[in-house]
């Protein structure tokens, strides 16, 4: 849930990047971190294993401009994608204002995408959230690789809500800011009520 501090006139929102292992969640955050003005970002924290797989979460705070005199800040988190770390994923989803689901476009990762999407629904439910209503944006990542699933098929498999979706190549930054901007929009529109 958003944290609105009327005394210091700040709004803080939490965005969680979700998806199967190695789909590019950390790559999204890393690109945003690399391309953002140093004055607008805090430290990026990566709790990763020795082989750079996310162990607990990645975190980066991002300051944006102001809305009605309130400073808007987004706290971006990723979850560990590997099936094994479900307990950690659950913890990180708590308090999320919006979710970016990063799907891996490669044909042989399609099952992993579907499993992760189901897992997202279950874990949201445990916190009393509903995948049908929470602000959600889909990102189809790794569009530059060979042997990928056509966007139409990904849409049919994952986008039952007909939310905005973006094709991306996260390590090169393609679609990364578009995705972030869209989820920020969805969250603020939801707050608007």
């Amino acid at each position: 849930m958003s944290f609105i501090n009327y005394s210091t006139r700040e709004i803080n929102c939490k965005i969680v990047y979700y998806g199967p292992g190695l789909c590019g969640k950390t790559a999204n955050l890393q690109y945003i971190y690399d391309k953002t003005d140093p004055n607008l970002k805090g430290k990026m924290i990566s709790l990763a294993t020795e082989t750079d797989r996310t162990l607990f979460f990645d975190f980066m705070p991002l300051k944006l401009g102001e809305i009605k005199g309130f400073k808007v800040r987004f706290h971006l988190y990723t979850v560990p994608g590997q099936v094994f770390y479900d307990a950690s994923r659950k913890l990180i989803l708590k308090g999320a204002d919006g979710v970016v689901f990063v799907a891996d476009s490669q044909v042989d990762r399609m099952d992993a995408n579907l499993d992760s999407f189901d897992n997202l629904r279950d874990n949201l439910q445990e916190h009393g959230y509903d995948l049908d209503t929470i602000p959600l944006v889909l990102q189809y990542n790794k569009r530059d690789l060979p042997d990928i699933v056509p966007v139409k098929e990904l849409e049919e498999a994952l986008n039952y809500r007909n939310v905005k979706s973006f094709e991306a190549v996260a390590i090169k930054g393609v679609g990364v800011f578009e995705t972030l901007k869209q989820i920020a929009k969805e969250i603020i529109i939801k707050l608007k009520g």
Binding site: M1, S2, F3, I4, N5, Y6, S7, T8, I11, N12, K14, I32, K35, T36, D37, L40, K41, G42, K43, I45, L47, F56, F57, F59, P61, K63, L64, G65, E66, I67, K68, F70, V72, H75, A87, S88, K90, L91, I92, K94, G95, F177, E178, L180, K181, A184, K185, I188, I189, L191, K192, G193
Partner: protein, 163 residues
């Protein structure tokens, strides 16, 4: 109220911060912070500019959440106190009514015993303030700052960096 705190009343925020200050001075700690369970900073003692409070908030909240998960697995409701001992600096973390997290950073100029004693005293004050805060929050007199924002307002947020 579990996750959402609307600080519409500056008075209460000041009370939280003066208790954080008092705790820092009385326990001879280096810094005290209060965060919510999602890691959002609620208040801090004075002279804490050298600390990266946002990162501390996120990491301590993650830490408390992970420890809470562990407690559940072991059949405990929660572990209400966490203590991390470093070579020079130490961190004492405690839950306030299961909703907020009190962080005390200290070094060898004080002792864990004194920190625990003073924290106990402060927890009572924070618990009282939390009840006061919840009472105010239910009065529902907040201005809705989002009611008349436009797509342009949202777009303008992103004019500052990145793409």
């Amino acid at each position: 109220m579990d996750n959402l705190f609307w600080f519409s009343d500056e008075g209460i925020l000041n009370k939280f911060e003066s208790e954080l200050d008092r705790l820092k001075i009385e326990s001879n700690a280096k810094a005290t912070f209060l965060i919510d369970k999602n890691g959002q900073l609620i208040g801090s003692s004075k002279n804490t500019e050298s600390y990266d409070k946002t990162s501390i908030g996120a990491l301590v909240a993650g830490n408390v959440a992970a420890t809470g998960g562990l407690a559940n697995l072991l059949g405990e409701k929660e572990f209400s106190i966490l203590f991390h001992e470093g070579e020079n600096e130490h961190v004492h973390i405690s839950l306030v009514s299961g909703k907020l997290i009190l962080i005390v950073i200290f070094d060898e100029s004080t002792s864990l015993g004194l920190i625990r004693l003073r924290v106990k005293k402060s927890l009572k004050v924070f618990e009282r303030l939390l009840i006061e805060l919840e009472k105010n929050a239910t009065q529902g007199d907040k201005e809705n700052i989002f009611s008349d924002i436009t797509e342009d307002d949202i777009d303008n947020l992103f004019d500052i960096g990145g793409k």
